[in-house]
Symmetry: C2
Subunit: 304 residues, 2 copies
């Protein structure tokens, strides 16, 4: 175990930041780092929070963090903007200004941008969770910032998914369009003191898929109303869903391995096709073969 892993396991903030950068960018040392902490992880639980822009996610998360701190949990936030190609720094600056808790060393906030690579972010998030887990954070909030939604890969690494709505923005229709009515464990009507909150609450109850398993709550993040109840419900979902956490973890590792292996294989595939299969491209361009058949032939030849 090297210096960095040791400092990380002690929860040193600069070690956490450095380790996150290494795994996020898949820099040299990422493999050794993850290797050295793999048997130190498994205690953290992850809470994905998503919803349309303007739903009040940031304020809600501030209050969730406060509540978890009062229950003595170390809490980390991964703020993810799936639509942004801006470097993490800029978003982080905004977040830091917004948070009241930045001097509390049991809170850690980190922004991650997707850099436009499809699927890239979910691999980075998986390892970022391991780093924060190893550093002793027991609740990790994965937040979609901006107008973007959390992508499917990230949803899969969240132990609980919360979808937040705002009564004033016609969210119910947008929610259906974005597929939000399928992914949540807990649906939150935030700004519940505003006009339309009751209607939205019942609309969501109607819309959600698999009604018996889902919870719909009202909060007013600004005043903290409903936050304790929300946290109680989050903890209930965590306890119910993860009575056998080892199995959950194994399924996630399997997903990760499929992902990583696909990336290696796909890169190899691309090079092989470009260097070796020009004749097939010619035949297709001349109308003598079709893309379906050619792809099947190449797949057969490449796989053992």
């Amino acid at each position: 175990m090297n210096e960095l892993s040791k400092a990380l396991l002690e929860g040193k903030r600069n070690a956490i930041a450095k380790a996150l950068s290494i795994v996020e960018n898949e820099q040299e040392g990422a493999r050794e780092l993850i290797k050295s902490i793999m048997n130190k992880v498994g205690e953290a639980r992850t809470i994905g929070i998503t919803g349309p822009a303007g739903a009040g996610k940031s304020t809600l998360i501030d209050k969730i963090v406060q509540e978890y701190r009062s229950r003595d949990f170390k809490v980390a936030i991964l703020a993810i903007d799936p639509t942004s190609v801006i470097s993490g720094g800029a978003i982080l600056g905004d977040r830091v200004r917004m948070m009241q808790h930045t001097l509390d060393e049991n809170i850690f906030i980190r922004s991650m941008a997707s850099r436009g690579e499809v699927g890239g972010i979910s691999k980075a998030v998986t390892n970022a969770i391991r780093v924060l887990d190893a550093a002793g954070f027991r609740r990790i909030i994965i937040e979609s910032v901006g107008a973007g939604q959390l992508d499917a890969g990230i949803i899969k690494v969240a132990d609980v998914v919360i979808v937040v709505f705002n009564p004033q923005t016609g969210d119910s229709v947008q929610a259906i369009k974005a597929g939000l009515t399928e992914i949540g464990d807990i649906y939150v009507v935030n700004k519940a003191d505003l006009d339309g909150a009751e209607k939205l609450y019942y609309d969501i109850k109607d819309l959600i898929v698999d009604k018996s398993e889902k919870i719909v709550l009202k909060t007013i993040a600004l005043t903290g109303e409903g936050i304790k109840e929300l946290i109680d419900n989050i903890e209930n979902v965590i306890n119910k869903k993860h009575s056998n956490y080892k199995e959950v973890e194994k399924r996630r590792i399997e997903m990760e391995i499929i992902d990583r292996t696909e990336r290696i294989v796909n890169e190899r595939l691309k090079r092989i096709i470009q260097s070796k299969y020009g004749k097939y491209i010619e035949l297709i361009a001349d109308g003598k073969m079709d893309p379906y058949t050619v792809s099947e032939i190449i797949a057969e030849e490449i796989l053992r």
Copy 2:
């Protein structure tokens, strides 16, 4: 050659609609259909149109279609909503109501939803273009509807990419965030009679990457102002870029083959990992191996 292919090559509307459904859903018959038309395609040119929501894309496209019709081109529109999981029908209904040209049989409009599958839409679009090409459409407009942007795969199949902006919505900042300043051949400031149009025009001139190759234009789609100039510029780009169209086509086929082969291989990979590599998942879960090494081992074992 079967009935459907024959009717398609004659430009029969119901055959076009049916063929599009078949390739879009990769139904049975897709392979035979594409095979039978592969040597009948290559004349159509594609125009991708994207930009932030509210830029006035729909009205602009209406006018582009009118102008192309007056120049005697058959024109098709593929309206793509990358964020939507709604079935094509709903969007299509809206579009049909909007278009003045639905009785003109030299115009064909089709909606495609992404169904949430990453990359899935670009394969479908590639074959939809072939179908429309075979049916005699010479200009195919690929439009992003709603707030979503055209994805990278679709941008790659467009011969010309147009990015449309609205002076009134602070688009320049949003454009940078969305990476729009890199992808266009032609940038259009629509609603050029509104306040801020001049400023936006010069902002975009400043922002765009690779300035010498790019064109910035002003239009007022509502009155048709600037449309003729826009079409002239589109045609110029098409002529300049594609003096050797065969090579362009080959590069696209290569991309498609890589895509299709990846999908076959990745499906196989997933099954193999799930059935054969459980021991590695265990070892990782126990902290005895790391995901990087395991993925490399599996990739080695699977590839020839």
